[in-house]
Symmetry: C2
Subunit: 266 residues, 2 copies
Amino acid sequence: MTIAHPPKPDTALWVYAHPRRDSLNDRLLQAGTKALAQRYEVTVSDLYAQGFDPVLSERDLGDLADRPGNIAELAGDAYANGRLPADVREEQAKLAAAELLVVQFPLWWYGPPAILKGWFDRVLTSGFAYDDTDPELGVPRRYGDGGLVGRKALVVVTAGEDERSIGPRGISGDLDSLLFPITHGVLWYVGIEALDLHVVHDADSLGAEGVEEQVDRLVARLDGVAGERPRLFRRLRDGEYAGTRALREDLLPGRTDLGIHLADRG
Amino acid sequence: MTIAHPPKPDTALWVYAHPRRDSLNDRLLQAGTKALAQRYEVTVSDLYAQGFDPVLSERDLGDLADRPGNIAELAGDAYANGRLPADVREEQAKLAAAELLVVQFPLWWYGPPAILKGWFDRVLTSGFAYDDTDPELGVPRRYGDGGLVGRKALVVVTAGEDERSIGPRGISGDLDSLLFPITHGVLWYVGIEALDLHVVHDADSLGAEGVEEQVDRLVARLDGVAGERPRLFRRLRDGEYAGTRALREDLLPGRTDLGIHLADRG
């Protein structure tokens, strides 16, 4: 099984989606990238600073603009033809090189800010990040496979809410489920293995001392990140969703929560 | 309990987030708004056609730009001072008037396109859509309460995947859970009651006849939408999350899936 884009060892990409300097997120970014630079060559995609345009549109299609069809499929064709816009190609090159991906954002409306959602929408094109059915495997190159296999990702998220509001049975829904569309739907879909979420709770009420504690906690996490084991989901190609694309009835029978898609770590 | 923005009876806002004319989504929009116009005065927010900017930034803050603090809180202050940008004020006015909200989008990376996510990020400011603790109630005006209470919403979503892939136990996660950040985290948070999702599966492979069937199905749904009962979630103010903000231990003990937040329809 070939890896479409073999990462460069000890190279990291830090994708950052917060608008404000001198914010908690800015502190975490500065301290985090510095800590990571002890071991990795770190590239930062500071989406606000770059003025990244998150809106997937005809502009993404090069000479295929306005051609009938599905825009995501056409973007895949534009990738194949080398006609994606320069900003997308640049992000793809950074991502292709990175062995470790850090994605940092404040939780807005229980998801990523639009500028980050649009980075997924525009950068992770067909052909680059995932692919149609592999003739040899008989299944699509998705969910634990794909163009970006062999990478790990750390999601760093700040939330105004406390640990209980956004924990299991919390009124906002537990954060692992709320971010399943990213950890599983985006990252795992293209072959990237997400580590446990790094969550900063009560982000708007930490106080100066609390901020320092959170900075230290992130730095400590990053110091050990190379040795961390990811939270693997089940792979499409392993046959556990055989036939119907629903989880086989003999596996965790009766359960319908998102947790059924986690594989054992053993 | 006052309603901050009483809706105008028989007024609907259709928020549309798809880039392409002559697409399945365009067909659903055209037929859907026409059907709805039999009963409602319909306004359309066609986010791509409007060139809506989804990036919440200093520009949203008026004269509070670059002031230290949390950008969402500052946007709430800008709302209170009448200093939000014109495009946001216009969307807020449309939403404030509408009794029924339709939100239509293609599922991209298991969530809304960035242009729609940013509509939530920018339009649903503090003060307008939700509020801090009510002194009389002793709880925040959120989750089943808030500035937009008294409204219903229909989420219309097209997905390339089949019903099984994205159903209960489906490899992509079930769509009700994947869109919980919208139905619960956005809509219910600000007091809007979501109806059952309207999902068009296999959206990229319907063929001409399949498209007509889906158009008819949406029209039929909209013909009866005024009489539909919403899928209510639990209200923060009802005491079921008392004290800890986690669901009381005597309610559905042991369960941690997102379904625990649904209230009985009875």
